[in-house]
């Protein structure tokens, strides 16, 4: 069915275009009205499509909107087509809802920024690009959105580009993402080469039907599906900040906090998870690729959680937390539990956006500092922020009835219960499950540490006198996110708790990503108890260490293991290792190329060589230009004399006729000068060097005795000027 899906990404894009072009001339009120309306309208349109258009069609593949053919070349035909199915519809709703709330929040947070219009233009552009990514019906359209959100991420991280660190963080994000994008592109090419199409529904149909073209062996005994899935996952790892490409996300916190909440927590970074879920059927063809996805996800979840333990910057902790939670989602989709991964994406969007907005609110109150060792005791000063933070904190820790509990549990239980890996890779499933449990413990600990250090105990801030709660436009979205963080879990209650129809998200997504993973009721209960124990243990341990500020046990722990603490605090030196392994060799190579190719080859040899040549020729020619008109005239006179000599030679005969009559050759020169009778002619008919006929007549005849090939030479002499010309011809006598 056709519909007007195109309006969903178009509205924010138009808003962005308008604000970029003329936003500077509008008042702040007008700017944020335009920006919020654009995204709000997109929310209304997508909600309308999702709740009223989609349910009837969700089994048939959802709503589509083909704007037109984008490009066609040979077998490749790419339409500018959008599709809202169960998965992209849900994602679209999350993006527009979170986007709208964060636009509203930004009107308060950025109220005093001088580049108000530019900020909202970028936010709108981001929403448009993200919606294009989500709704794209084929990989190229998705890729445009994919690149668009990367661009906006770069623009917004470096929004305060006056400081070099911010600009560098933007560049780091962009370049790291480009490395991943290469994987996305290669994956796309492999799929096209194998399946001959880039339309996602067509690819998924191929994959669901067994897909001989996708299971054919490509390299090293692995099928096409494996390599395509692996390269696409590499792209996803770049966008969704997974090992080995996660390094950009912590630095991305240099951007304004609403940006961190919108782009680097709730929406853009989940694009990789979304893409894997979208292409789920293809991933299911390659268990090895799924195992890599799940393994990398679990490793990242654990690794980032450990790094987060040692950080002291509010937003950096949340950034590592985001990386860790994205790892959870990748384990979800990597264990074939696509609904679980998307469910966690859904709840995470609420509680992580809420946490980031709380961070923004706290930093707003403290005048911009994010150092949690300089905070503390904010609970009484910022009541609304504190309550929202508490809800989101309990949600991310996985305390029962809060949203994160159900979604995280769905992933962990699914990781243990899944059977997608087959017998050979069966060991992957409990390994990643155990990794996730450890990561969950770390999560509960570092988030509780953050809570206790910021909100409890004595206030250690310098500006304690001026502390104030944020304005209503910031608190409003906060409360909405808080409610979402509390209630979103209700959308995906496990069957063991709410009965067989309780898993709303799982059943809703079934047409798009397959039925939800079956987990036995007894195992589900055991997992829930284990998760609860782990969450409470993490919180209890953190309270022991940090309740009311850093306590004695925390100090003793640091004193007992100084090496370990130092390594964790410096994030396992990953940035430094990349610096040595990647950045420096690349820089050396670039410098070498610059010196050899640019400086020597182009500048010196090509550019310099030509100028040298022209210069040298000029130097010699300059000797001729003596500036003496009489010498010029002398040369002119000599040239004229030479010209006269050449021109005065007998002209070429105007017509030369050689007739062969039997054994005779008749030559008629027909020269006009022949009429004056002053020229002398010589004819050598048989090529022996002696003239057979000579005299003033231009015509001559000669009879040959034998047939054969002869060389005919005719000499014309002007005795008056002593000039001569010779004409030669070859003739055949039969």
């Amino acid at each position: 069915m056709l519909s007007h899906l195109r309006t969903i990404p178009l509205l924010p894009l138009l808003g962005a275009a308008y604000l970029i072009l003329v936003g500077r001339h509008h008042s702040r009120r007008a700017v944020h009205h335009i920006a919020c309306m654009a995204v709000g309208a997109a929310l209304v349109v997508s909600a309308d499509a999702f709740f009223f258009g989609l349910p009837a069609l969700v089994k048939e593949g959802g709503l589509t909107d083909v704007v037109g053919t984008w490009f066609a070349s040979g077998d490749l035909r790419v339409d500018l087509a959008l599709r809202m199915d169960a998965l992209s519809g849900l994602m679209c709703l999350v993006v527009t809802l979170v986007g709208t709330l964060i636009h509203i929040y930004s009107t308060g947070y950025m109220a005093h920024d001088k580049d108000y219009a530019r900020f909202f233009a970028y936010l709108n552009l981001f929403c448009g690009a993200m919606l294009l990514l989500v709704l794209g019906d084929n990989l190229p359209v998705m890729f445009i959105g994919w690149e668009g959100v990367g661009l906006c991420s770069y623009l917004l991280i470096g929004f305060w580009y006056g400081e070099t660190a911010n600009a560098s963080a933007g560049k780091k994000a962009f370049i790291t993402n480009r490395v991943g994008d290469l994987g996305f592109l290669i994956g796309m090419f492999l799929l096209f080469r194998a399946a001959g199409t880039l339309d996602i529904p067509a690819l998924l149909d191929t994959a669901r039907g067994g897909g001989a073209v996708l299971t054919a062996t490509l390299w090293w005994g692995q099928p096409v599906a494996f390599w395509a899935a692996l390269f696409l996952f590499f792209g996803a790892a770049g966008k969704s900040a997974q090992i080995p490409l996660y390094v950009w996300l912590p630095d991305a916190m240099a951007g304004p906090t609403p940006v961190s909440a919108l782009i680097h927590a709730a929406t853009m970074v989940t694009a990789g998870v979304y893409m894997v879920a979208r292409l789920g059927a293809m991933y299911l063809l390659a268990p090895a690729a799924l195992a890599i996805v799940a393994g990398v996800g679990a490793l990242t979840a654990l690794f980032a959680a450990v790094i987060a333990l040692g950080q002291n910057d509010f937003k950096k902790i949340l950034a590592y937390s985001t990386i860790s939670q994205l790892g959870f989602m990748f384990v979800g989709v990597g264990t074939g539990n696509f609904a679980g991964g998307i469910f966690h994406l859904f709840t995470h969007a609420f509680f992580k956006a809420g946490l980031f907005l709380c961070a923004g609110s706290v930093m707003h109150a403290l005048g911009g500092s994010g150092d949690i060792t300089r905070m503390g005791g904010l609970a009484g000063k910022l009541p609304w922020t504190t309550w929202v933070f508490r809800v989101c904190w309990l949600a991310i820790c996985g305390v029962p009835i809060f949203s994160g509990f159900f979604s995280k549990d769905a992933i962990v239980a699914g990781a243990f219960a899944t059977e997608v890996f087959g017998p050979r890779l069966a060991w992957v499933s409990p390994t990643v499950g155990a990794g996730l449990l450890a990561a969950a413990l770390g999560t509960a600990f570092y988030m509780s540490r953050l809570y206790y250090l910021v909100f409890t105990g004595e206030c250690r801030a310098d500006t304690r006198g001026h502390l104030h709660e944020s304005p209503i436009e910031m608190v409003g979205p906060l409360v909405v996110f808080g409610l979402g963080a509390f209630l979103a879990g209700m959308a995906g209650l496990p069957p063991a708790v709410g009965g067989s129809r309780a898993d709303l998200i799982g059943h809703w997504l079934a047409p798009a990503v397959g039925p939800p993973l079956e987990v036995s009721s007894g195992f589900e209960w055991r997992m829930m108890v284990a998760s609860t124990v782990i969450a409470l243990a993490g919180i209890g341990l953190a309270r022991l260490f940090f309740g009311g500020g850093a306590r004695e046990p925390a100090r003793r722990f640091v004193a007992a293991l100084p090496r370990l603490v130092a390594v964790v605090r410096s994030k396992f030196f990953v940035d430094e290792i990349y610096q040595w392994l990647v950045v420096r060799p690349l820089r050396g190579l670039s410098r070498g190329l610059f010196v050899v190719v640019d400086r020597i080859l182009i500048d010196e040899l090509l550019v310099g060589g030509w100028t040298f040549l022209v210069d040298t020729i000029g130097r010699f020619l300059r000797l001729v230009q003596v500036g003496d008109v009489q010498r010029y005239l002398a040369i002119f006179a000599m040239g004229l004399a030479a010209l006269v000599y050449v021109m005065a030679r007998p002209a070429a005969p105007s017509e030369l006729k050689i007739r062969i009559e039997g054994r005779s050759a008749v030559v008629e020169l027909g020269d006009r000068e022949a009429t004056s009778g002053k020229l002398d002619y010589g004819f050598d008919f048989d090529g022996d060097g002696r003239e057979d006929r000579s005299g003033p007549s231009p015509n001559a005849t000669w009879s040959y005795t034998r047939p054969g090939r002869y060389r005919l030479r005719i000499r014309v002499t002007d005795p008056q000027w002593s000039t001569a010309r010779t004409i030669e011809r070859t003739i055949d006598i039969r």
Binding site: Q625, V626, G627, D628, L633
Partner: protein, 99 residues
């Protein structure tokens, strides 16, 4: 008199003029030598015109005379102008365009 006699005189005159143009250093003399060359050309035109019985040569002779007058006027003006600025009419000293 046969035509070649006129042509020989014309030739001699032209060579004298050319030698003057190429060898003398005084701009005034050079200009006069140019006049000699023009006169030689005029003479040749007239001689051929008479030999061939064609009046076009006479017409061209008038053109040449008009041209010579104009050339003399412009040439002399340039020489005077150069002399005013440089206090010399020697062509060796007028070499500002030398590379």
């Amino acid at each position: 008199m046969p035509t070649y006699a006129y042509i020989l005189v014309s030739l001699a005159l032209f060579f004298v003029g050319t030698a003057g143009v190429l060898l003398r250093r005084n701009a005034l003399i050079v200009l006069m030598s140019v006049e000699l060359q023009l006169a030689a050309g005029t003479l040749a035109l007239l001689a051929f015109s008479r030999a061939l019985g064609d009046q076009k040569g006479h017409v061209f002779a008038f053109f040449v005379m008009a041209l010579a007058a104009a050339e003399a006027a412009v040439g002399l003006a340039i020489v005077v102008s150069v002399f005013r600025t440089r206090r010399t009419a020697n062509l060796d000293d007028v070499n500002a365009l030398k590379g």
